[in-house]
Structures are given as structure tokens and as C-alpha cells.
């Protein structure tokens, strides 16, 4: 039997840190054959990226150290190779693309130069490399390749940048492409296109594709085989469909159970009484750019209204305008019948505490120099009428326990917590103000799937307990499906469709909503296969 294209045997990687040795990867083995797509699935800290970095010789040693194992490329050990021979393999035989293409492309060189460099580094004459680069740009779908060769990375969109990375990686027709979370930062429709492009190119060249992701949907979309990693170890491996249908390891089971998009959809609330918030024709211009155009919507007390859209849809601008972090160009926002946009700063201050916001990234929304106690009690320092100072300490403890932390966490600082815990602190801070309406701006999208589910549960519990209303801004449709009562779909500053969850997810009327739904990935490979077929049909039907 001929050797596998790539085989990793019993790989262990440790990092020397100031806390002592940290075992990032322990005894990991997997293999990849030509034409195969192997997906490594894991949450943050699972060691999935470290494994890939070990294959690419990208681990800094020290502090990293490969303590055991072998990495074989066509039967040859990559770890024992002389460094010059090893270098010649990178890019030429094994190439890699990364999560954040803007950061991973050199900002000060033109994209043409960077793609050409890939080829000239491995000995191709530069005129030949230039012709090939233009051809590649065309192949990955960059319009006007000859002109765009001279452009710089910041002059492309996010999706295009990932296409550039792919063009560069495939320049020398490598046998293996390693893709580390290649679509994580992208909009769903762009994600679908990039994954489709990767599959297409794989068919063309017959390369093996090693894809790393945290997203069960991506597994369902592209994987032949899947390796599930947790805490540096492989917990389960097998054909993707089989692992999903019949998970063996408790971790895999939990991961699949936590995947959003499979729960019950909420029944519409019985409409009664006055709306809590009513937006009327809100418009916001930044110079000549119209970020919001005539946006109108209502939120009932206790209702969860999701606002869904891709980047540039204006959903975050809407949140900021509503909270008067940005001044609207025109329109009105009636909160309990009074227009927020017309209020004087003093009136607004009185109402501030009732409308609060949970931000996307708790690492940035919590002041790193304030302890948890200071962070939460600041609410009462600003609004002293809520609570007298003597009760602050007890109330902070109470709130921390309410959001699933413990009272003695109050003395710590934000950097001493994990991402999920930090978001809980941010929620506790919001609750300190006893708000009626909470705007969640992508509040769970930076979190791991299992943590995401916990935070969503927390938010839902708080709604039931305190009758909170939410405006839930998200790009992730499955989360919205499980959580929201009503959904508003936005595109380029406009609302294109609005309805109950069931209406939007089962009988979407607008083309854009349909495209969004078609592009979103279901964790079930069987469902995903059907969707893929439907999408291809839709594309074929289009002129």
C-alpha cells in the first residue's frame, strides 16, 4: 500500500509558558489522501490550529516544542528533514490559508507581488510567474485581474481577500491545502461562495484539503471525514455523516446538541397593549453614504426582535442610533410614546437606564482596569437613585450569581475570565440598571458554540424572569431561529422583510432572505447536501 499523502502520527506539542508546560496537542493522529476533505472540528483551545501549524512548521520553537510524533508527507518525515528541504515544501507542495486574510496579507505590497513571490521563491522565472498570477486571479473570480494585480490588500472586500489567499496558495498546484477557519469572519453568502470555490478547485487539482473549523455547518457542507478535537486530544474521528448521525463520544454529543437551529421555533406573542418601542422612518447618513433608509419597526414588551443582515446592512448603525451613540439624520423613535430622538440630554439621561446594550466583544466592552465590582457598581454610581451605596456589595454578589458566576469573582479583573464569563459580566452590568429593553449587538457571535448556547439560555431566562425585551442583532441565522420571536431582515440599510420566526424561516418572501437562508449552513450533513443541490439549481436557473 502506498503511503498516505499526509499522515500525522501520535503528535504532541507543548508550549513553555510562565505557568509551566502547557500541553496544546497530545497524541494526535490523522491522515489525508488525494482528493479527500478532512475537517478538524474543535472549539477555541482545542489544539486544532496548533496541529495544522505543526504540519506547516509554523510553531515557534521555543516556546513551542514537538515532544513526540511524526508528520509524514508521502511517507517522508517532515520533522526530520533538513531545513532547506523543509522550506521548499511549504507553499509548493503544502499550502495554507488563514482565518483573517486582511491580517495575513502583507499590507504594504501589492497582491500581484505577493502571489508572484510565492512562485519566484520556489524558482519560477518572474515573467512566467506574472502570467500565472493573472490567470489565477481570474480563476478565483477577481474581476479585471491585470489591473487588480497592482492593487493592495486593503482595496479588496473580505471575500475577495480570501479569494486572493486561495489564488496565492494554489499558485504552484500544491498536493495539500490547509485551510484554518477560512470562512469564519465572512458573511454567510460569501462563506458559501468561498467553500464552493474550494471544492471546485479541489476537483480540478485533486489536492487533499485539510480544513479546520469550529462550525458544524462547515463540516456538513464540505467534509468527507471529520476529526473532533477537545482539549488537545482527538475524541472522535470518522466519516462526517456518520459522526453526526451517531456520535460516540460525550463531547461530540454535547457539541451537536448545542448547535443552534434545531430547537423549537417561538410562537408569535399575542399582540396586546402599547409597543415598548416604535421606530418610524429612521434614516442615518454618513456623508453621502446612506447607512439607514426609512427603517420602521416595533418592539412589544417582553418580545425578542431579531435584526438579521450581513456586514454593511446597517444593523449595528441602527443599534447605535437607537442608543443615541450616533445622531439620526431623520425619523423618530418612540419609547413608551416619547420620542428618544427629540429628548434633551437631561431627559435622555433619565431613560438611559431602561434601554441598555450588550456588545459583541466583552473583551473590549469591559474596562480592563476596573474590577468586576467596579464595573457593575458603576451603574449605580451613575444612577444613584437605583441603589444606596451600602447595598452595592450584596447586590453585585446577587447579580453575579444570577448570571452564573460566583460572588467572589467581584474582586477580579476582566482579563482573568474566559470569553463566555466576560459576556456574563457584561450582562450582569446591564441588569444592574434594571432595564426594560436590551439591545444585543452580535452578543454571542464571538463565543464558542457550547458557550453560545449557555448565554442564549441565560438571556432567555432573564426575559422570562424580568419581562425584558430584546433587540437581538445577529448575522447567524440558526441562533436567531431558536431565540427570536420576530425577525427583521436588513440589506444595505433597508428592511427587506419582517415577520415571525416561522414566517421568515419557513415561507420567506424576499429574494435576499431566501439567499441568506440558502447560504446558511445546517449542522446535519444530510440536510446540507439537499440545500447544496437546491442552491445549485437556483444558480442554474438564474440567467
Amino acid at each position: 500500500m502506498s503511503p498516505h499523502l499526509l499522515e500525522v502520527r501520535n503528535l504532541s506539542v507543548e508550549f513553555h509558558t510562565l505557568h509551566g508546560q502547557v500541553k496544546a496537542v497530545q497524541g494526535v493522529s490523522f491522515h489525508l489522501d488525494p482528493g479527500e476533505t478532512l475537517v478538524i472540528l474543535g472549539e477555541s483551545g482545542s489544539g486544532k490550529s496548533v496541529s495544522a501549524s505543526a504540519v506547516m512548521n509554523l510553531i515557534d520553537m521555543p516556546p513551542g516544542e514537538i515532544t513526540s510524533g511524526e508528520v509524514l508527507y508521502r511517507g517522508k518525515s517532515l520533522l526530520e528533514m533538513p531545513s532547506e528541504e523543509r522550506r521548499a515544501i511549504n507553499g509548493a507542495r503544502i499550502a495554507m490559508i488563514f482565518q483573517d486574510p486582511l491580517a495575513h496579507l502583507n499590507p504594504v505590497y501589492s497582491v500581484g507581488w505577493q502571489i508572484i513571490e510565492m512562485m519566484t521563491t520556489h524558482g519560477m522565472p518572474s515573467d512566467q510567474a506574472k502570467r500565472r498570477a493573472i490567470e489565477l486571479l481570474g480563476r478565483v473570480g477577481i474581476p479585471d485581474p491585470e489591473v487588480r494585480m497592482k492593487a493592495y490588500p486593503h482595496q479588496f472586500s473580505g471575500g475577495q481577500r480570501q479569494r486572493l489567499m486561495i489564488a496565492m496558495a494554489l499558485a504552484l498546484k500544491p498536493d495539500i491545502l490547509i485551510a484554518d477557519e477560512p470562512t469564519t469572519a465572512l458573511d454567510v453568502t460569501v462563506q458559501a461562495q468561498i467553500l464552493a470555490l474550494l471544492k471546485e478547485l479541489q476537483l480540478e487539482t485533486g489536492m487533499g484539503l485539510l480544513l479546520i473549523t469550529h462550525d458544524l455547518g462547515v463540516v456538513a457542507e464540505v467534509a468527507d471525514n471529520v476529526v473532533v478535537m477537545n482539549a488537545g486530544e482527538i475524541v472522535e474521528t470518522g466519516p462526517a455523516a456518520e459522526v453526526y448521525a451517531n456520535p460516540q463520544h460525550p463531547y461530540t454529543k454535547r457539541l451537536i446538541a448545542a448547535a443552534p437551529g434545531s430547537g423549537e421555533m417561538a410562537e408569535p406573542l399575542a399582540a396586546s397593549g402599547q409597543p415598548l418601542l416604535r421606530l418610524e422612518n429612521v434614516t442615518k447618513n454618513f456623508g453621502t453614504i446612506e447607512a439607514l433608509k426609512d427603517v420602521s419597526l416595533t418592539v412589544m414588551p417582553g418580545e425578542i426582535v431579531a435584526i438579521v443582515g450581513e456586514s454593511g446592512s446597517g444593523k449595528s448603525t441602527l443599534a447605535k442610533t437607537l442608543l443615541r451613540l450616533e445622531e439620526p439624520t431623520s425619523g423618530a423613535a418612540f419609547y413608551n410614546g416619547r420620542d428618544l430622538f427629540q429628548m434633551s440630554p437631561k431627559e435622555l439621561f433619565g431613560i438611559r437606564r431602561e434601554i441598555q446594550m450588550v456588545f459583541q466583544d466583552p473583551t473590549q466592552s469591559l474596562n480592563p482596569r476596573m474590577s468586576v465590582y467596579e464595573l457593575i457598581s458603576e451603574a449605580w454610581a451613575i444612577h444613584p437613585e437605583i441603589l444606596p451605596k451600602v447595598k452595592w456589595r450584596d447586590r453585585v454578589a446577587e447579580l453575579l450569581e444570577l448570571v452564573g458566576l460566583s460572588a467572589d469573582h467581584a474582586r477580579r479583573y476582566p482579563h482573568q475570565f474566559s470569553g463566555g464569563q466576560r459576556q456574563r459580566i457584561a450582562i450582569a452590568r446591564v441588569l444592574a440598571l434594571e432595564p426594560k429593553l436590551v439591545v444585543c449587538d452580535e452578543a454571542v457571535s464571538a463565543l464558542d458554540v457550547s458557550i453560545q448556547a449557555q448565554v442564549i439560555d441565560l438571556l432567555e431566562g432573564l426575559r422570562n424572569e424580568f419581562g425584558l425585551s430584546y433587540i437581538f442583532i445577529a448575522h447567524d441565522l440558526p441562533v436567531v431561529r431558536d431565540f427570536a420571536d420576530r425577525v427583521v431582515v436588513m440589506q444595505q440599510g433597508r428592511i427587506v422583510e419582517e415577520g415571525t420566526v416561522r414566517e421568515i424561516f419557513e415561507t420567506p418572501r424576499d429574494d435576499y432572505t431566501r439567499a441568506l437562508l440558502a447560504a446558511s449552513l445546517d449542522p446535519d450533513p444530510a440536510v446540507q447536501a439537499k440545500r447544496r443541490a437546491a442552491r445549485l439549481e437556483m444558480e442554474a436557473a438564474r440567467p
Binding site: 509554523l58 511549504n90 505590497y109 493592495y152
Partner: protein
């Protein structure tokens, strides 16, 4: 770009006007101008003649108008000490300063960039630690002290180098070397820090994944990204040197603008001081422009 240069020229023009006003009022309001312009032992009579000649008896605003008009015509008056137009005296000295500054900046830039880059690449290693410590000492050293210690050592005790003048290449070694030390220490630290950031960046990881060799990774991929803050610091230091390295020029008897300025001040040759200020300010304006252009050449994201 032309628009940008215009804007910059306008801003610098404002700065220059500010300076002109400052110098005028300081010279008129802090005492009797004749005390400023004339030797201490000038007679009352000659003071009065001086007043009459230079319109010092006119109202202040009229004096100011004359003063501005003369400056606009690049007429700073004659140097009292040398009986030549002040501007001519200053320009003669300025060329020496220019050569000294450019030579020093050239050595500082090349050596600090190469050593700093390598120190960042071998961060924590012995090369890095030695380079960092030496640069710290360099950045901490008072140049006048280094200069006189160097004179004692190399001129007096060893007799290798001349103590002052500009005659031969040997005359240049000590001024350049002394002037080199502090900027070298400062720039090296900036290069090292900036390169550390660049080398741990995502695009360097990409370059390694592409199989790019070590040397182009350091000096092509990382360095160009790391240069912006370095250029800022070099610009500030160069601006200082273009005004004449007062201390070094004085100690080594180097006929540059710095020494000229100090001598003129001590000998109350105020027209020369004023001309020197204007010439230096112009030079700094041009230098800042060069630096802005260097920014946009290095980083395509910067467009004016």
C-alpha cells in the same frame, strides 16, 4: 499630492509666522533693543543713532511692519560681527551642518535598522541583550561628556585624531561618532520594538507558510511594515541636527550653524541669530515634507 504639499506649506507658514512674531516681541519687549543689538559698551550717542537708523523710535506696529517686510525680502540685515549679509553668513555655516547631519543620519539609520532588526529576530538571545543594553547606554549618554572624554582619549592621550576643524576626513570622525551615539541608541530601540511587532504578525506567518527564506522575511516582509515609527523618530532627530548640533559643533570647533548661533548670541549679533532661525525652519519644513512622502512610499494605505 499637490494639494497636500500646499496644505503642509500653509501649516508650516503659520508656524513660521508664529516664530517671527515670537522673536520680534521677545526682542522688543524684554528690554531695550539696543542692548540686544549693540555691544554692551556702546555709547549713548551711538545707541540713539542706532535707534534712528532702525526706526526703533517708531510706534511698535510700524516697527513690526518693517521687520516683517524685511524678512519677506530675505533681508535680515548685516552681521555686525562679520560685516556681511547675515543670510550669507548663515548659509555658509549651514552647508557644513548639512553635511555633518546627513552623514550622521546615514550611519545611524543603516546601522540601527540592521542591528535592530537582527536583535528583534533573535529576541532574548545574547546578540539581542548586548545590543539592547548598549543602545540604552547610548541613549542615556550626554553628548558633551562623550565628546570631551573622546578628546582626552583619542586626541590628547593617544594623539590619533585632531581636536577641531574640518580639514581632513580625520577631523570628521569624532564629531560624527559623538553625534551618532544618542540617536543610534534611540533609533535602535524603536526599530527593535517595531520589528518585534512586525515579526510576530500574521503576514509574516503567511510568508513562512509560503516557504519564503529567512532573510527576505526579515528585510522584505517585516522591515517595510516596521519602518513607519522608525522614520518618525529619525525625522525628529534629523530636525534637531539640522538646527546645528550646538554642543558637538562648539566642542569640536566645527563651523556649523549651531556654533554660529551660540557665538552670535554670545557676541550679540542678533541679525545672524534671526537669519539662522529662518533657514533652519525652512530646512525642517522640507524635511518634514520628505518624511511625509516617505510614509506614503512605504505604506500604500497612506494617501494624502
Amino acid at each position: 499630492m499637490r494639494h497636500f504639499i500646499g496644505k503642509r506649506a500653509f501649516a508650516s507658514g503659520l508656524s513660521l509666522i508664529g516664530l517671527v512674531v515670537l522673536v520680534f516681541f521677545l526682542s522688543r519687549l524684554t528690554g531695550d533693543p539696543t542692548a540686544l543689538f549693540l555691544p554692551l559698551d556702546a555709547s549713548l550717542d551711538s545707541r540713539e543713532r542706532f535707534r534712528e537708523l532702525h526706526g526703533l523710535n517708531d510706534p511698535l506696529l510700524v516697527q513690526f511692519a518693517h521687520y516683517v517686510w524685511d524678512i519677506l525680502n530675505l533681508d535680515f540685515g548685516d552681521s555686525i560681527r562679520k560685516a556681511r549679509p547675515a543670510l550669507e553668513v548663515v548659509l555658509a555655516a549651514f552647508q557644513w551642518t548639512l553635511i555633518l547631519a546627513l552623514t550622521t543620519i546615514f550611519f545611524v539609520t543603516t546601522s540601527a535598522i540592521i542591528i535592530g532588526s537582527l536583535a528583534a529576530f533573535y529576541a532574548g538571545g545574547i546578540f539581542d541583550r548586548v545590543a539592547t543594553f548598549l543602545s540604552l547606554i547610548g541613549a542615556s549618554a550626554p553628548d558633551f561628556w562623550i565628546a570631551i572624554v573622546a578628546i582626552v582619549l583619542f586626541s590628547v592621550n593617544l594623539g590619533w585624531l585632531p581636536t577641531s576643524g574640518t580639514g581632513t576626513i580625520w577631523h570628521w570622525i569624532m564629531p560624527v561618532a559623538v553625534l551618532f551615539i544618542r540617536p543610534f541608541g534611540l533609533v535602535l530601540q524603536v526599530v527593535r520594538g517595531s520589528m518585534m511587532t512586525a515579526l510576530s504578525s500574521a503576514y509574516v506567518k503567511t510568508a513562512r507558510a509560503k516557504g519564503v527564506r529567512v532573510r527576505p522575511i526579515i528585510f522584505v516582509h517585516a522591515l517595510r511594515n516596521a519602518l513607519l515609527p522608525v522614520i518618525t523618530v529619525i525625522g525628529d532627530l534629523s530636525a534637531g541636527m539640522l538646527n546645528g548640533a550646538v554642543v558637538v559643533e562648539t566642542i569640536f570647533g566645527f563651523p556649523g550653524v549651531g556654533k554660529l548661533m551660540i557665538d552670535s548670541i554670545l557676541q550679540r549679533d542678533f541679525t545672524v541669530v534671526l537669519a539662522a532661525i529662518m533657514v533652519s525652519a525652512m530646512a525642517i519644513f522640507l524635511m518634514n515634507l520628505l518624511i511625509d512622502i516617505a510614509y506614503s512610499v512605504l505604506d500604500p494605505r497612506i494617501r494624502y
